[in-house]
Subunit: 275 residues, 2 copies
């Protein structure tokens, strides 16, 4: 895994943030190192076959940049977090299902799984084809039309790359893209948003072997910044507000590099103590 | 668990964010619903017996508010995330240990644990007295003086309440406080920061039974916003920069209510499929 130090990007400069976001320094981010999270409103309903990247660009990179939900419009170095639901809709990963039939739902979850990890009542914890271990194989009945369910994208890293490439090549902005979904955790209550697909922004940043603030060498400190970015974005999106994306501005530029969830975040079975 | 709806706080108003942070709206947060994360620099070295809340206040609520790392100084509704390391230092939870002696470290980890959950080589996953399941019982050898280790606070919820009470009663600001620590996760590589102590800000927000954007009733959607706040703060702190705290401005005011990690986030054994 590449370390943060090996990324071919300059460290942040004092003028970088303000210059990038057009901020005066008064009332904006507090100097170097701050992060702003902007909810993306106005995307409209996403339907199968829609060009989601173009829809995002219409909102984030409008002709009149002053009306973008991100100050000055989307800019190089921003990270766009997009929820799985709208990606699945655009990619047509919607299936018909009778939401009131537990058997139909169970069969659908099993068809999306390669392995059942735990089962209790209606709850299945399974491993998906991607290698995610999560509840109900990521099959979701909320925020989709009644009588339908949303499945996970076939290849969420590819979904992220497609959005990133359109934003870069068609609209001229070089950004990171995170596809996020809502997963539960062992031992802790409540779900959090995590990264299921990545393009152009790090999954895990390896700080092993670098000195800490006291000059001692750090022990293993591989930070999954992608999951923290996804969770941070969730804080401005909420489950009940129908906001399907957020833009993070001020992300450490060393993290903007090629990456994937499959390659960096999914823990290989031989490393895993809880399979 | 209280639902978001039952919290006795008004929903965010369009003027609230700008008014609260003194922002002009030009170059600041992009309208309603944005979140800004400010790293807290200038705290100085924390030592056993230090009044950490007063040290935070000296930086965040200075006589000249314009020099605070948070625009205009700490304000009502802000959430202060403080890393476990400085809390443990202030509370004297530092012990002498030969960091090169694996046996000594193992004995210390076991003395901080009530149960060994998994063991592989030098790595112990244990349950602490608090009920956390994490690597090495949270014992940490980094960012402390050589020959010492930092243990988790005895009662991190109490640590959070103390900081919050000092900030409120001595300095007149009503904020949420999160004590954060760095935990690994099952099935996913990399660590993320999570909440180990809370005061005045929600752990888990219960959106069950509320309508989603399509008007359908959501399935179980209990979001652990506290862990997302802790992870978001980590994004501006990093492991190698020695920044021990961050302030989040723009947090949903409905989340600012009494809470605790012990009461809301630690999953009871009878709910847990992975013990």
């Amino acid at each position: 895994m590449p370390s943060a130090e090996s990324a071919p990007v300059d460290p942040p400069s004092p003028g970088g943030l303000a210059a990038q976001s057009g901020e005066s320094g008064v009332g904006g981010l507090a100097g170097v190192g701050g992060l702003a999270i902007h909810p993306v409103t106005g995307l409209g309903e996403v339907r199968p076959g829609d060009d989601l990247a173009a829809m995002l660009a219409a909102v984030l990179v409008p002709a009149d940049r002053s009306v973008s939900p991100v100050p000055g419009g989307l800019a190089d170095g921003d990270v766009v977090v997009v929820t799985q639901k709208v990606v699945s809709k655009a990619e047509g990963r919607i299936v018909a299902i009778d939401g009131d039939d537990p058997e139909a739902k169970r069969a659908l979850v099993e068809s999306e799984s390669v392995r059942i990890v735990r089962r209790r009542g209606d709850l299945l914890i399974t491993e998906t084809r991607h290698g995610f271990i999560c509840a109900n194989a990521g099959v979701d009945l909320s925020n989709v039309d009644a009588g339908t369910a949303a499945l996970l994208p076939v290849d969420p890293d590819r979904s992220a790359r497609r959005i990133r490439e359109v934003l870069e090549h068609r609209y001229g902005v070089e950004v990171g893209v995170v596809i996020s979904d809502t997963f539960g955790r062992t031992w802790r209550r409540g779900v959090t948003d995590v990264a299921i697909g990545l393009a152009g922004v790090a999954g895990v940043v390896d700080l092993r072997g670098t000195a800490d603030a006291t000059g001692r060498i750090l022990e293993a400190t591989e930070v999954c910044v992608a999951d923290e970015l996804a969770g941070a974005a969730e804080l401005v999106m909420g489950k009940d507000r129908g906001i399907p994306a957020a833009v993070l501005r001020g992300v450490d530029p060393r993290w903007l590099r090629p990456s994937s969830v499959a390659g960096e975040i999914i823990r290989p079975p031989d490393e895993d103590l809880f399979r």
